[in-house]
């Protein structure tokens, strides 16, 4: 079973500027994982990078090692170990500047409990995505948060 949380934010900065930052894992992952922990592991040499990224959710840690692929207007990653999930960050043009959308898909095992857990995971992931997007927006519009 898989469930996807998707959130968007409008950033009042030129598309090019937003795309450059939003597809840079060195900026984006710390923002998304700002409530948990993150660590750069290695440059795989094939245009991808490996990172450890975890969200702290109560007593458990959701995440693991991810492989990140960056392109001009998108960044995506998928899990190599840990919680099975994938993420897609997309930047598109918007009359006010640029729109950034983030979609996180989480896969959990089980039938009834699995479905319940996925439902919970979707709303938890959604709130984390909103927090990450708001941090990104503020970072681009006003500089790093104090």
């Amino acid at each position: 079973m898989a469930t996807t949380a998707r959130e968007t934010v409008v950033v009042r900065r030129p598309y090019d500027v937003v795309a450059k930052v939003a597809t840079d894992p060195g900026v984006m992952l710390p923002l998304v994982a700002g409530l948990g922990r993150f660590q750069f592991i290695r440059d795989a040499g094939d245009g991808t990078e490996e990172w450890d990224m975890f969200l702290d959710i109560g007593a458990i840690h959701v995440g693991g090692r991810v492989q990140v692929v960056s392109e001009s207007s998108t960044m995506r990653w998928h899990s190599l170990r840990g919680t099975r999930h994938s993420m897609l960050v997309e930047v598109s043009d918007h009359p006010a500047g640029a729109e950034v959308s983030m979609a996180m898909t989480v896969q959990l095992g089980g039938l009834v409990m699995g479905r319940l857990a996925e439902r919970l995971a979707r709303s938890i992931a959604g709130r984390h995505l909103i927090a990450g997007l708001e941090q990104l927006r503020h970072h681009l519009e006003y500089g790093p948060t104090e």
Binding site: S123, A131, R137, H138, E141, Y142
Partner: protein, 281 residues
């Protein structure tokens, strides 16, 4: 043991109300009821308030987002937490409240004793000049009665008076964000158009009349003081913002408004991300 005894409100003689101002604040009364309120808020709301170490030792303007319709439990929680952190004898905190709170018998008197005064820019300046800290909720009833789906949104409705107040008085803004309060009442829609259609905004200064679900009223158009549903309330006090330093002597108020609300939105969204299950926390 008197731990579960309700706070005793000693009402003035008939027709005589607690003064509306810093002189109405009753430190001894606050001291007396703090332990009981603390217990009630800990048990009922599992309250958490962090970040008071960010508050400088000078008069400041606390700017918050508040929730929960007319009962605004996060406002009470902040007053409670402030008075325990800085002590009752410390710099007094005066909160600006909508007249629907301050004019309500019993609740209004309780609020005044606790340091609430009827909202108004001149009152706030007067209190700041007296050396007190002031707590404002620029969003007013529009924010407190925003739809439940927007519970984690800063909604100041474009009101910038608080910025001019802080700038003119030469005091820093200390933002305060809170989550959970909007889960103590259910609000189904944005009631601003209804308030306009009924003329409530002109004649009663009530800007929002949404459909709400609360105890004991059930479904109701608008918000009356009610018994909040239990929920987990978290609050975070943020580092101060010096408008004079950041925006100079002649600020662009739109720019300052966007900056303050953006800073608060980031903190509110991060606080909301700590929620695992709404209501339970």
């Amino acid at each position: 043991m008197a731990l579960v005894r309700l706070p005793a409100v000693r009402l003035p003689a008939l027709g005589q109300r607690v003064p509306d101002g810093i002189e109405g604040r009753d430190p001894e009364y606050i001291r007396r009821i703090l332990p009981r309120l603390w217990l009630a808020f800990e048990l009922y709301f599992r309250a958490e308030v962090d970040g008071f170490e960010n508050v400088p030792d000078e008069p400041v303007l606390f700017v918050g987002n508040h929730s929960g319709g007319a009962s605004v439990p996060d406002t009470w929680l902040f007053l409670l937490a402030y008075n325990t952190y800085f002590t009752v004898e410390g710099r007094p905190l005066i909160g600006l409240a909508h007249r629907i709170i301050t004019d309500t018998p019993l609740i209004g008197d309780l609020a005044r004793k606790f340091g609430m005064v009827k909202a108004g820019p001149h009152r706030a300046r007067e209190v700041l000049d007296q050396g007190a800290n002031v707590l404002v909720y620029p969003g007013g009833d529009v924010e407190a009665l925003r739809p439940t789906r927007d519970r984690n949104r800063i909604m100041f409705d474009g009101r910038k008076g608080f910025l001019k107040l802080a700038h003119d008085a030469g005091v820093k803004i200390v933002p305060v964000v809170a989550t959970g309060g909007q889960e103590t009442v259910y609000i189904f829609n944005d009631g601003r158009k209804t308030a306009q259609a009924l003329g409530f905004d002109k004649y009663l200064r009530i800007k929002s009349v949404p459909i709400t679900l609360s105890f004991p009223w059930g479904f109701l158009p608008g918000g009356l003081p009610h018994v909040p549903f239990p929920a987990k309330i978290r609050m975070q006090v943020l580092p101060p913002i010096d408008l004079q330093e950041k925006f100079g002597s002649d600020p662009d108020w739109d720019e300052a408004y966007d900056y303050v609300t953006s800073t608060m939105q980031v903190a509110l969204s991060s606080l909301a991300a700590r929620t695992i299950l709404p209501v339970l926390g």
